[in-house]
């Protein structure tokens, strides 16, 4: 018995040894890079007069950070908890609110004061004090509201060392509680201020004033004053937009670009009109800076707050690139020692494309692309060929269909070959003497395909509607595009990024398309662009006159190699874009899934007589008997995946054929349950015929869920079990049996027999955020599963550890199959963390793409950070090692060859001499 265990242990250890593919120390950052982001700006504070100039920011992603003034790089960053717990409600830097309420820095050794204070979340609300020099958390207190649901709308403000918690009860009253900011002690009881005029959409908190719009007047209330008097201010016209508080000026709000004060003690300059305002100091005087964007030029102006005279030293205007979108002035500061000149002021803008832009001396000093904190889709696009290779490529492609003129073809091919090489020699010669044609923009940027296909353009689509073209090796941003007024679809479905034409069709340029929804009228929007240059192509933005319900990619057209897009609109009509690809849509199947009712519908598309029509062919309800189930996950197979092996070899050397149904889609539904708390169902549905191939039910299991389905019939759902906090990985494999029903074609309509199902569950010692299988060009390389964990690491798990055929009892059959005995716990060795210490904060998704090498798979992990690397699941069997010693090998080769020649000569001489004896 002991021996058996020993054997098992040994075999597992050996297997793990075999799979370890850790990096060497000198390979760190050689194949990978990481982009670190903070997210879209919420509040900021530029401080140039601190002994250590810095920019303190809080973001919509729940991050507080300090940026370097000169470069915009991160000095430190603290990623707070996930939303809603980490949602930052207030960032208060000491000495910022207004002069009188300054707390001053805390005395040494005490923990009463603070550099910076944040309030986050609502139930509980956490108040934290930070050391701004190194980003360390110094103290923290929390507050649990009585009514957690209402607390979501709570507001916080800070005044004179006291933190106020304002809880509105709509159309009734305001509850205001004051706490000592650094200790959390309540200063007294909660005061209820009667205010029946408050409503959710029309109110705002400006400093200590709670201001609401009511028709043509503003109603406001000073929450700190003892009197509790309601102030009414009349407006010239009914405001069109919503109210915005003016940070830094107590009781001032921005209404349609105008400043209006509801505070008697705070006057504002009349007649100002701008899109954004901010308050700062210049020459020891308080000034109000404001900015506007007009015709691509940003103008920055400022007035002194006390006498409303313009500050001419600060006025500047600069061209603003369109890909930033519209800017909003967030904060600014001026160096005090250089009195009189406005050149030392730094203005910080947040833009509608979620960038952070720093402007100094009339030009953009630096910018941060924070849209990358929310990547929603990614594609690796092949780079174009160099010109000379391009002509070779077109020669190889030479039309070979015409057999009658075969001989002439040979002659012409030969001639073409000769001319190509002549051209190559000429271009080489011209290049050497420096007279060659100037390289194109892409070539100058080094964007030429390499021989292994490892160098690609990484196209990233972000939630803000900004698209990036990034070099996957250097991480350089080659181009950016911004699509204003385009948003994601309903049901939390994001915009789609589709490659319509790859770079394989030289001299045609590759073509990408973005599908989204018009933010205004909800109709579909198509944007077509060249993924190498980032320029609009073939019409650019196209507004459709219908809402998109679903889409599908068609095959390539013969004319221009564009893959058509089949669109299903909300009235179940079908359209194809571009038009000339319409015949390819004939015989397509489409399905749609309703998330809330868990209903599936299948459609058949027919093209006849020049008209495209769709027929509703099947329906499936996954809602359960009481329609409580809701779809929480859908996963189809990757269409570009190749299956190299059609079956699995068993211990007795027979073949178990895989159930390779390309039309299989996995749906996961979840519903609350009285006895089991939560029930999760997995359905494998053939979406062509609508038949449910397999169902599995997990009890006491709930989301979050990561689902991945592979073409080999291996879906791998991951679910988190609530009751004992275990993370469950369930793997399922489908097999057709020992014989194949039809070994030449697969048709879902021919009703293949129900597959054999192998399944197994494993426990992972970590929380799984996302799952993705590696993919390679031909599918010969082993499959590994990339597991993205909540702690931000990416673990490469060999498939044979997740194999559902791992035998429970150590049998000879299992051993001969190469399966390791079943152990429920999966190991996570540190060598298999492919991002070693480069943690990806808030890891959300992993995308994989094949490279030109069969062994290598390109990986990009997105979240708050971006991590790009490559993995080789079966090691780089088709590549020489990095440290391959070319010199030694060539020396040995030359020495051996010359040695053998010399020895041959000597031997023949000796033979001759012997013969003469």
């Amino acid at each position: 018995m002991q021996e058996k265990w020993l054997l098992t242990g040994l075999s597992v250890a050996l297997l793990l040894l075999g799979t370890c593919s850790a990096l060497y120390e000198d390979q760190i950052k050689k194949f990978d890079w990481r982009g670190v982001n903070v997210g879209a700006l919420k509040q900021s504070r530029v401080d140039l007069n601190h002994f250590q100039p810095r920019i303190l920011v809080s973001t919509h992603e729940g991050v507080v950070a300090s940026l370097c003034v000169k470069t915009g790089e991160l000095v430190w960053r603290q990623v707070l908890e996930q939303k809603p717990r980490g949602d930052i409600k207030l960032l208060q830097v000491s000495g910022f609110s207004d002069d009188s309420s300054d707390t001053a820095a805390a005395p040494m050794g005490s923990n009463l004061g603070f550099d910076m204070l944040t309030v986050q979340g609502h139930a509980p609300a956490l108040v934290r004090g930070w050391n701004t020099n190194m980003g360390a958390l110094e103290w923290e207190w929390s507050m649990m509201p009585l009514n957690t649901e209402r607390a979501q709308e709570a507001l916080w403000f800070y005044s004179r060392s006291v933190l106020y918690h304002v809880l509105p009860a709509w159309r009734s009253h305001l509850e205001v509680t004051a706490y000592f900011a650094s200790s959390g002690h309540s200063t007294g009881s909660t005061s209820k201020l009667m205010a029946s005029w408050i409503s959710p959409e029309s109110c705002s908190l400006s400093g200590t004033f709670y201001v609401c719009v009511d028709g043509k007047q503003l109603i406001s209330l000073d929450l700190v004053s003892k009197s509790g008097q309601v102030i009414r201010t009349s407006l010239e016209a009914e405001p069109k937009g919503s109210l915005k508080a003016m940070a830094g000026l107590n009781g001032v709000v921005i209404v349609d670009g105008n400043l209006i004060s509801v505070n008697k003690d705070q006057s504002v300059c009349p007649g100002l009109q701008a899109s954004s305002y901010t308050v700062g100091s210049f020459n020891y005087r308080k000034i109000l800076a404001y900015s506007d964007l007009a015709f691509g030029i940003v103008k920055i102006n400022a007035v002194y707050l006390d006498n409303c005279e313009p500050v001419t030293e600060i006025e500047q205007s600069l061209p603003f690139p369109a890909h930033f979108g519209s800017p909003e002035l967030s904060n600014f500061d001026c160096k005090q020692k250089r009195n009189g000149e406005g050149k030392s002021c730094l203005f910080l803008f947040s833009t509608s494309s979620e960038s952070i832009v720093a402007v100094q001396q009339g030009r953009i000093r630096w910018s941060r692309e924070e849209a990358l904190a929310n990547v929603i889709d990614s594609q690796f696009v092949d780079l174009p060929l160099a010109d000379t290779e391009g002509t070779l490529e077109s020669e190889m492609k030479g039309k070979a269909g015409d057999f009658t003129s075969f001989e002439r073809d040979i002659v012409s091919a030969f001639l073409r070959r000769i001319t190509t090489q002549a051209v190559q020699i000429r271009s080489l010669f011209l290049h050497v003497i420096g007279l060659g044609p100037p390289p194109t923009d892409t070539q100058r940027a080094g964007l030429v395909r390499d021989s292994f296909g490892l160098h690609k353009m990484l196209v990233l689509l972000t939630r803000a509607g900004k698209i990036f073209g990034i070099d996957n090796i250097s991480g350089k941003h080659h181009w950016q595009l911004y699509l204003p007024n385009v948003s994601g679809f309903d049901n939390d479905e994001q915009m789609r990024l589709i490659v319509q034409r790859s770079a394989k069709h030289f001299p045609l340029q590759p073509l990408c398309t973005i599908l989204g929804k018009d933010a205004v009228n909800g109709n579909g929007v198509l944007y077509r662009f060249n993924p190498i240059t980032g320029k609009a192509a073939e019409g650019g933005l196209i507004q459709l006159d219908y809402k998109i319900k679903q889409l599908s990619l068609l095959g390539e057209t013969e004319k221009d190699f564009v893959k058509g897009i089949l669109l299903l609109d909300s009235s179940n009509k079908v359209h194809v874009y571009p038009q000339h690809a319409t015949p390819l849509a004939d015989g397509m199947y489409l399905y749609t899934a309703d998330v809330r009712t868990a209903e599936l519908a299948g459609y058949f598309v027919k093209y006849a007589g020049g008209k495209l029509s769709s027929t509703h062919v099947w329906n499936a309800r996954l809602g359960g008997h009481n329609s409580e189930q809701q779809i929480i996950g859908v996963s189809g197979k990757n269409p570009i995946e190749h299956v190299h092996s059609q079956g699995r070899v068993l211990g007795d050397r027979s073949v178990l054929y895989k159930y390779i149904n390309p039309n299989l889609v996995a749906f996961v539904t979840q519903a609350p349950d009285a006895t089991h708390k939560s029930v999760l169902n997995l359905y494998l549905v053939d979406v062509v015929s609508g038949s449910v191939v397999f169902t599995i039910t997990h009890r006491k299991v709930r989301a979050p869920l990561a689902l991945s389905i592979q073409k080999t019939g291996l879906p791998t759902p991951i679910s988190m079990r609530k009751c004992d906090a275990q993370r469950l990985v369930t793997t399922i494999e489908l097999y057709e049996g020992k014989t194949q029903a039809n070994n030449s074609v697969w048709s879902s309509l021919q009703a293949p027999p129900m597959p054999l199902v192998e399944r197994q569950s494993y426990i992972l010692p970590t929380i799984v955020e996302t799952l993705r299988e590696t993919i390679t060009e031909r599918g010969i390389t082993n499959k590994h599963v990339l597991i993205g964990t909540a702690s931000g690491s990416i673990v490469e798990m060999p498939w044979h550890l997740l194999d559902p055929r791992r035998p429970i009892a150590s049998t000879t059959q299992g051993r001969e199959e190469g399966a390791i005995p079943y152990i429920p716990e999966l190991p996570l060795p540190t060598e298999s963390h492919i991002n070693y210490n480069q943690t990806v904060a808030r890891l959300r998704n992993i995308y994989t793409a094949p490279s030109g090498l069969e062994s290598t798979c390109l990986v990009v992990a997105t979240g708050l950070d971006l991590f790009v690397t490559r993995v080789a699941p079966s090691k780089t069997f088709d590549l020489l090692k990095e440290d391959f010693d070319y010199i030694l090998i060539s020396i040995v080769l030359v020495a051996l060859t010359s040695g053998s020649l010399i020895v041959k000569h000597l031997a023949s001489r000796k033979l001759l001499k012997q013969a003469w004896k």
Partner: protein, 166 residues
């Protein structure tokens, strides 16, 4: 030539090289007709046949030895069993191709029979080697051995879709 010169120069010299009279009678008891013994010839012939049968039956006699070697080397795939199986396979095949040469050494009345037996014996050895290959799993006789050449099925239907956008 020198001898002739010698004979001319020295008249009195005796030439021993010149053969003596060939008509000298045979010694007593010498019977030239008794030189070939008929029974001896018959016995030699029998010996040749026996020897060539030995040769022809050689491969068959090897079989028990081969069986023993096969049993001893086991079914694991490593260098020595592979070498043995290779030798076992190649030797009889070589022998079959050189049957003509081998049989020339022992031509006789039963030549055809011997050749057939020799051939069959070698075939038996080849069969034995193949059986060994089979039991070692070296022969592509299972479906799994041809799995790499199975073409993927072509799909007839294509689908698209997902969660509804509206």
């Amino acid at each position: 030539m020198s001898a002739k010169q010698n004979s001319k120069k020295f008249k009195w010299a005796l030439d021993f090289n010149v053969s003596k009279n060939a008509d000298i009678p045979s010694p007593l008891g010498y019977n030239p007709s008794a030189l070939v013994n008929q029974s001896e010839v018959v016995r030699d012939q029998r010996l040749v046949i026996k020897k060539s049968w030995d040769l022809a039956l050689g491969p068959l006699k090897n079989i028990p030895m081969n069986l023993f070697i096969m049993y001893m080397s086991g079914n694991s795939i490593s260098i020595f069993p592979i070498m043995m199986v290779g030798m076992m396979l190649i030797r009889p095949i070589k022998a079959i191709f050189t049957t003509q040469v081998t049989s020339k050494m022992a031509e006789g009345a039963q030549g055809t029979g011997q050749r057939i037996v020799y051939f069959l014996g070698n075939l038996a050895n080849v069969a034995l080697a193949l059986y060994k290959c089979h039991s070692m799993g070296l022969l592509p006789t299972h479906a799994s051995d041809w799995l790499a050449f199975v073409q993927p099925q072509t799909r007839l239907e294509y689908y698209g879709g997902g969660v509804s956008f509206v």
